[in-house]
């Protein structure tokens, strides 16, 4: 008998504000430890929170982007637990009155089908700091720079049925939050983190006991963690065991997971309304102003790509889902003056390289301008497709080098010879030195002749050190040979 998987996600999205949710300290990534932790972030006695307007606006923008209801009155609560990365001993979050109510995100699966994933709600909260486990004589070090960074936590309904859907949803969400500019989308810096709730059941049976795997910060890890947890639960159940409600940790480096704490050990968080913050009241006209400011959403962008650039549904989907990808595509297409070729290169060579090196499009060593410039040279016949790949590789491998495609072509001496005079000279030389082959060609049946051209082309390309424009070579060669017969 088969098993059904039921998955719900909780996604923590770091908002791209300049300052913390409750303090004026910077949120810039990568500062020296505790240099961006002010008195409020450190929970110094007597300090008080004041809410960042930008964080509220970004949460509203997200709600609008998923057609959710924006709660005109929302409120903050305290979630109490002790942990060294949580300076106040409570996290300020929203429990009963989140800012964003129910909404929907539509995902597209590989077979082209669509599915709606319902969003239960999204709420504002503060991020915690970081514990660094390097050894300080048996101690851990605490860096509170991240403490107080604004987050929205997005909670889905358990509408996801497998890892593929979870991945499609995660990518869709990534594209959405980056498109509307509320998150930089940098997974490697923890800008998006996923908690995965997984249970399995026999069809038509009630929901099984679920486990939660926390803090997955890459798409790949999330996919693998889900697959692993589903397999584990099925194994346990098929062996006659029971699933324990627990929180699990997945280690992407070793592809292994373990139990962190069971439900019985779970904290009693003692939520209650935060008395230092008053109800957040949002005016309807402010929501409308934000709605008007919403940039193009991925769905609309996809339709535009299909209409304006004649891209396929699939291509348009891939290029439009992610804001950075879309931006890269549009910038390179503009330089290249050819959307189709730009799309091909991005989804072919560039994506392959990005994937194999696990590089974010934002960190691509080849810029959109460089790729566009490369395509220009392919189009005008300066270089062959094969040469273009060589140039692309050179650009990829020298990210610090700001050379243009033209510079690389020049440096490597790859410029294709398209000067018809020069090509004619080359062809003439090869024909003159290949009397036997010319004779054979002339004798051969017309249907066999095309195959025989390879020899001449090879000789000509060799003589040109690979730089002759193959198309031109073909044309000139045919003309000259035909003239000889």
């Amino acid at each position: 008998m088969s098993w059904e998987t039921v998955i719900g996600l909780e996604i923590h999205v770091q908002l791209a504000t300049k300052t913390k949710i409750f303090s004026g300290a910077s949120t810039a990534f990568g500062a020296a430890p505790n240099t961006q932790a002010c008195a409020i972030d450190l929970a110094m006695p007597g300090t008080l929170p004041v809410l960042n307007k930008k964080a509220v606006d970004m949460a509203i923008l997200f709600g609008l982007a998923i057609d959710a209801e924006i709660n005109l009155v929302s409120a903050f609560d305290r979630k109490n637990y002790f942990y060294p990365d949580l300076p106040k001993g409570y996290q300020t979050t929203q429990l009963d009155k989140p800012i964003v109510g129910p909404g929907t995100v539509e995902i597209t699966l590989a077979d082209g089908s669509h599915k709606n994933i319902r969003i239960h709600h999204a709420h504002l909260e503060e991020d915690a700091g970081k514990s660094l486990h390097e050894d300080f004589d048996g101690m851990s070090g605490i860096d509170l720079n991240r403490a107080g960074t604004p987050l929205i936590e997005i909670v889905t309904e358990p509408d996801i049925s497998n890892a593929e859907e979870a991945l499609a949803f995660a990518k869709k969400l990534h594209g959405l939050v980056t498109s509307i500019g509320i998150c930089d989308g940098k997974m490697s810096q923890g800008s998006l983190r996923f908690d995965v709730n997984v249970s399995v059941r026999r069809p038509d049976e009630p929901l099984g006991t679920r486990t939660e795997t926390k803090n997955l910060n890459s798409f790949r890890f999330m996919e693998k963690a889900i697959a692993k947890e589903v397999a584990r639960q099925i194994d346990v159940l098929e062996d006659g065991g029971t699933i324990r409600q627990e929180t699990r940790l997945y280690d992407g480096d070793t592809d292994s997971a373990r139990s962190m704490r069971s439900k019985e050990e779970a904290n009693d968080y003692r939520y209650f309304p935060c008395p230092d913050l008053l109800p957040v009241v949002i005016e309807q006209n402010h929501i409308e102003a934000l709605r008007a400011s919403l940039p193009e959403l991925p769905e609309a962008r996809k339709k535009r790509y299909m209409a304006d650039y004649s891209l396929s549904d699939y291509d348009a989907g891939i290029l439009s889902d992610d804001a950075s990808m879309a931006h890269y595509f549009e910038a390179s297409a503009e330089v290249a003056d050819d959307a189709k070729l730009a799309a091909n290169w991005i989804m072919g060579e560039l994506s392959a390289q990005l994937n194999s090196s696990e590089t974010d499009i934002n960190d691509s060593p080849v810029s959109a301008e460089q790729l566009g410039g490369l395509i220009v040279r392919i189009k005008d016949g300066s270089i062959s497709n094969k040469m273009a790949r060589t140039v692309f590789e050179a650009l990829w491998n020298n990210p610090a080098d700001k050379s243009s495609a033209d510079d690389i072509i020049e440096q490597l001496g790859l410029k294709q010879v398209s000067d018809s005079g020069a090509i004619e000279t080359l062809v003439d030389e090869v024909i003159a030195n290949s009397a036997q082959q010319v004779a054979n060609y002339a004798k051969a049946d017309a249907s066999k002749r095309p195959k025989m051209l390879g020899y001449f082309v090879g000789q000509i390309m060799k003589a040109s050190k690979g730089q002759a424009n193959p198309q031109q070579v073909n044309e000139v060669l045919l003309k000259k040979l035909d003239a000889l017969i």
Binding site: P45, T47, L48, V50, F82, Y90, I142, F272, D276, L278
Partner: protein, 501 residues
């Protein structure tokens, strides 16, 4: 000099009768000689005070200075003072020197006031007798075997003992009004949101409010002019103009309607205290006011509601004291839990621990609705009682406390006996209303207080009502017998109390 009110001292500074340095020396000297008995200061900042006084004298010489320029005062040790230890009466913060100032501290510094030091208090403001302070109890200058009240007992006792003409204080359930009553001084808890809480170490955030203490309403009005401000660092501080609280002090009381809640005169009220309050009400009738009986039907629930809400908020507010970033840390913690449990067990006193545990209980799974939510609902009922009452009357009056100052240790080991001392003051905090205590008599040679409860942001009217009373009576001018015959040069005064200075 020390018998002068703050307003008189301000005038003396401006007329050149004495300099701020002289005045500051005078009070520092008194603290030095007398406070060994009263223990009203935790930290005396003599050097800084004299430097501030010298700076103030320069300002005064130029003229056109704020009223408080050069006037000595003290801050309750709950207000963070940059570079000066701020202990909150707790071992937890015994070595805590904040690198920032409370807004209230900034406001007084900007006005040129001279800060003599930080006053003693119940630990984290949790107490009504000052017995929970890590730095030992404060003695009531009227009778040193009695408590000064709490939690702002240090501020109240220091003013009563003429060690400072004024002090800041805070009030979460009566911590300004009760010690003011027990020490025979004047204290005002403003409307919640009138005074910034930034840098004021939190006990129960939705109840805490800073306010001034001094010898009379006029001085309190002067202090509130500086203490109250809009502060964008405190989300619960309201953006509304601060009136000149001294401008209307002398307004006539004709037509004033005073509400007297029947619930404030029931069982448990000391008859002599009741008589003093009734006498005060007669005085108000003489001043042209009308007395009206009112009912605040949910009054009996204010203490139970408070002892859910305040501990619940405190249990979270005090979680930050974990031995990691500042404050007390136990020696050689074995693991994380040991660090937390031992640092907090050693750093907090019994009453603080008790309230944290009660708060955690009331918020815990399964009890939230029965305790915390219920208390918040009762809180609204209590507020609605007041809203209804203020449709009929301009101000509410009654006793501040059921009894005059009690003796140390007399409440035994049951915490609830102590909690009931705040039975008349707590409802005001739950509702967020302004409350005030002014001296209105002596019972057993100890002062008792008349409580004034005003409508929201009606502090100016309350101060006017209090001031008019003080112009007709002299209760506020009485000084504790133990200090009345003391002159600055007489170093024997401390010994007169049987203890060495």
């Amino acid at each position: 000099m020390h018998n002068k009110t703050l307003t008189e001292l301000s005038k003396g500074l401006r007329s050149g009768e004495f300099s701020s340095v002289e005045l500051t020396h005078h009070f520092l000297n008194r603290i030095d000689q007398l406070d060994g008995v009263y223990n009203s200061f935790i930290t005396v900042t003599a050097e800084q005070a004299l430097a501030q006084a010298a700076a103030a004298d320069q300002q005064l010489a130029k003229g056109n200075t704020p009223v408080l320029c050069g006037v000595p005062m003290a801050h309750k040790d709950i207000f963070c003072t940059e570079g000066v230890r701020t202990s909150c009466g707790s071992r937890m913060l015994d070595t805590f020197v904040p690198p920032y100032n409370a807004t209230v501290v900034e406001n007084f510094a900007a006005a040129g006031a001279v800060v003599l030091g930080k006053t003693n208090m119940d630990e984290f403001a949790m107490g009504s007798s000052n017995e929970t302070s890590y730095y030992g109890p404060v003695k009531n200058p009227w009778q040193t075997q009695c408590v000064p009240g709490g939690s702002s007992g240090g501020s109240a006792a220091a003013i009563a003992a003429r060690l400072t003409p004024a002090a800041t204080a805070t009030d979460t359930g009566g911590s300004i009004r009760q010690p003011a009553a027990l020490c025979g001084i004047t204290g005002l808890k403003p409307t919640y949101g009138r005074v910034s809480r930034w840098g004021m170490i939190a006990f129960a955030s939705s109840l805490d409010q800073g306010g001034p203490m001094a010898r009379n309403a006029e001085d309190v009005a002067v202090l509130l002019n500086t203490m109250a401000s809009f502060d964008d660092k405190d989300s619960t501080c309201l953006e509304r103009p601060v009136p000149d609280y001294t401008a209307t002090l002398n307004a006539k009381l004709d037509g004033l309607t005073i509400g007297v809640p029947e619930q404030y005169f029931g069982d448990g009220l000391n008859p002599a205290v009741e008589q003093a309050v009734q006498d005060a009400l007669r005085e108000y009738e003489n001043l042209g006011a009308t007395i009206k009986d009112i009912s605040l039907p949910h009054s009996n629930l204010s203490v139970p509601a408070y002892y859910v809400i305040a501990p619940a908020e405190a249990s979270a507010n005090l979680s930050r004291f974990d031995g990691v970033r500042y404050g007390h840390r136990c020696d050689n913690p074995q693991d994380l839990e040991d660090l937390y449990k031992r640092s907090r067990a050693e750093g907090f006193g019994d009453e603080v621990k008790r309230r944290i545990l009660v708060g955690a209980y009331c918020l815990s799974a399964g009890y939230y609705d029965a305790y915390y939510k219920k208390a918040l609902q009762v809180r609204r009922l209590i507020q609605q009682d007041f809203v209804a009452a203020f449709k009929q009357v301009d101000i509410i009056m009654g006793p501040t406390c059921p009894n005059p100052a009690f003796e140390f240790g007399s409440k035994g080991s049951d915490p609830v006996a102590m909690y009931l001392e705040d039975i008349y003051t707590i409802a005001t905090n739950l509702a967020g209303l302004p409350g005030m205590s002014i001296p209105c008599g002596l019972v057993d040679d100890k002062p008792v207080g008349l409580q004034l409860i005003g409508n929201y942001f009606d502090e100016a009217r309350m101060l006017n009502i209090a001031h008019r009373f003080q112009q007709q009576t002299d209760w506020h001018q009485l000084a504790p017998p133990s200090i009345t015959n003391v002159s600055l040069q007489d170093e024997s005064i401390a010994h007169a109390n049987g203890e060495s200075a």
